[in-house]
Amino acid sequence: MTQNVIEVNGVSKAFGGVQANKDISLTVPDGKITGLIGPNGSGKTTLFNSIVGYHPIDEGSIRFEGREISKLRVQQIARLGLLRTFQQTRIFKNMNCVENMLIAVPHRKMTMLDMFDRANPEEMERAEMLLEFVGLYSKRKLTAGSLSFGQQKLLEFAMALMNEPKVLLLDEPTAGINPTLINGLIDRLKKANSEFGITLLIIEHNMRVIMNMADTIYCLAHGKMLASGTPEDIQNDQRVIDAYLGAH
């Protein structure tokens, strides 16, 4: 049996009167791709934020590699190797792609003194390799702000890989991306998973994406866990169809 890198247990989170997450439990197995779906406002992003430390949770526990992280802060969690991307892309718009990549070097392996070095050749090599991997090598010297929407998403993804995370949390990586480009993105995500051994947890509304990628899918509704299982199970689960997918 594979080990679970993330174990979420009975997590609840309310914003004022809005119960965004209620008693959520899920596990993310090491080296696998896990999907998270659910209607708008069902609390998916909230759960992500809870895991990576953007806000305190009301109840429950979150474990990463067996270690309790629900009290840690964003940077501490990031330095453990747990990284997320944003629903709205966030890159450093005024810097060029290579600089963006170099900022994403794994900080957990660095001391303060390392920061006073210039980038070393190995890091440059890695940055360029990853840019090539996402198809941005020819644009590496352009400022990131001048990239198109989809390319920015790819850059953000490459930065995440540069950081050598153990687990990558992706929030709607394909929203607003051209369908053909989506294919490319899926392909790369799968490669990252198989080649770099990065565990993935993905939020998506686009069923074509999630069904083709995920090993296991969790479905939230109204802040609660509605169902979980393999893509086939989920696709045929009447509750999921009623609450989310609609009649196909």
């Binding site: 929407f149 989809g150 790819l154 051209n178 053909t180 294919n183 490319g184 392909d187 074509r208 997918l245």
Partner: protein
């Protein structure tokens, strides 16, 4: 109490969604394989290579030679940067047109230009039936709605979060002569969408994504515009809401006789819906045709629909 209300409205939504699903030809995001893997550059390159000379006469023909809205040789962009190069566009009354294309092709920019949100370097935008055409290129954004009857539904969220649903709708009627007219119009919307009526006193920021989109669309309709510009209505929405939104647009076009210009990344859905489809690449129109034709075009399928 509140729970009951929510359940009730939920049930209604479900019923509507089921209805929509029956009528629509495919629901939400379509399914299918993910085999076609192309890089960004590859898409642009191939799209360029397949781009045919699209003669204006073809566009005229698509609009039944009676365009209501026409964009002629439009060069536009932001600041000094030119994004659009010689765009032509024709839509007839009660027709719908869908723009598709890779990210950054300039689709939103076309809508921006029509509404007057960016710099137009040359070209013109005209509106009107037959010989009654008016040049509206120089009108400012707020005059577009008042004088030309063009309403715009933006790509990203645009409700006023701190105002109630009701107030949001009243703001939709800001240009009306009397506030009472705006209120009457808002009541008409509430009659039509009980889902919104149930939430009229709530602040818009507590609405779910789908309700927000609904509010944005119906708010744009308060002034009873002739032309509707819709930018990616389905972005970030759950599958059932996508169906609902398209259902609303369908009604608007076929029941109320509005002219619709839409941008949609969920291209299959968009092309199924629209009468006319244009493919935009690097600020130029690469292909134009009937919606169904484009759907069947294998190249379009490979490049823009994900195979």
């Amino acid at each position: 109490m509140a729970n009951n209300e929510r359940d009730a409205s939920l049930e209604k939504a479900e019923a509507q969604a089921a209805e929509a699903a029956r009528r629509a030809r495919s629901a939400g995001y379509h399914m299918g394989g993910v085999e076609t893997v192309l890089s960004v550059d590859e898409v642009t390159r191939q799209a360029k290579s397949l781009s045919e000379e699209v003669p204006v006469s073809k566009l005229e023909a698509l609009a039944g030679h009676d365009p209501y809205l026409s964009v002629e040789d439009l060069d536009a962009g932001y600041g000094k940067m030119q994004i659009l190069h010689g765009i032509n566009l024709r839509v007839a009354r009660k027709q719908s047109l869908c723009l598709i294309g890779p990210n950054g092709a300039g689709k939103s920019t076309v809508l921006h230009a029509i509404f007057g949100f960016n710099n137009i370097f040359s070209g013109s935008i005209k509106i009107g039936d037959g010989a009654n055409k008016r040049d509206i290129t120089g009108l400012s954004a707020n005059e577009k709605l008042r004088q030309a009857g063009i309403a715009y539904i933006l790509q990203d969220k645009s409700v006023f979060p701190g105002m109630t649903v009701e107030e949001n709708l009243w703001m939709g009627g800001f240009l009306m002569d009397k506030p009472s007219e705006a209120r009457t119009a808002a009541e008409r919307v509430f009659d039509k969408y009980p889902r919104l009526a149930a939430r009229r006193k709530h602040q818009a920021k507590v609405l779910s994504g789908g309700e927000r989109r609904l509010l944005e669309i119906s708010r744009a309709l308060v002034m009873n515009p002739e032309i509707l510009l819709v930018d990616e209505p389905s972005i970030g929405l759950e599958p059932r809401f996508i169906d609902m939104v398209f259902e609303i647009l369908h009604d608007l076009q076929h029941v109320e006789g509005k002219t619709i210009v839409m941008v949609e990344q969920n291209a299959k859905k968009g092309l199924e819906f629209a009468d006319i489809g244009y493919v935009l690449v690097s600020g130029e129109i690469a292909i134009a045709g009937k919606g169904d034709e484009l759907l069947e075009n294998p190249k379009v399928g490979q490049l823009f629909l994900g195979g």
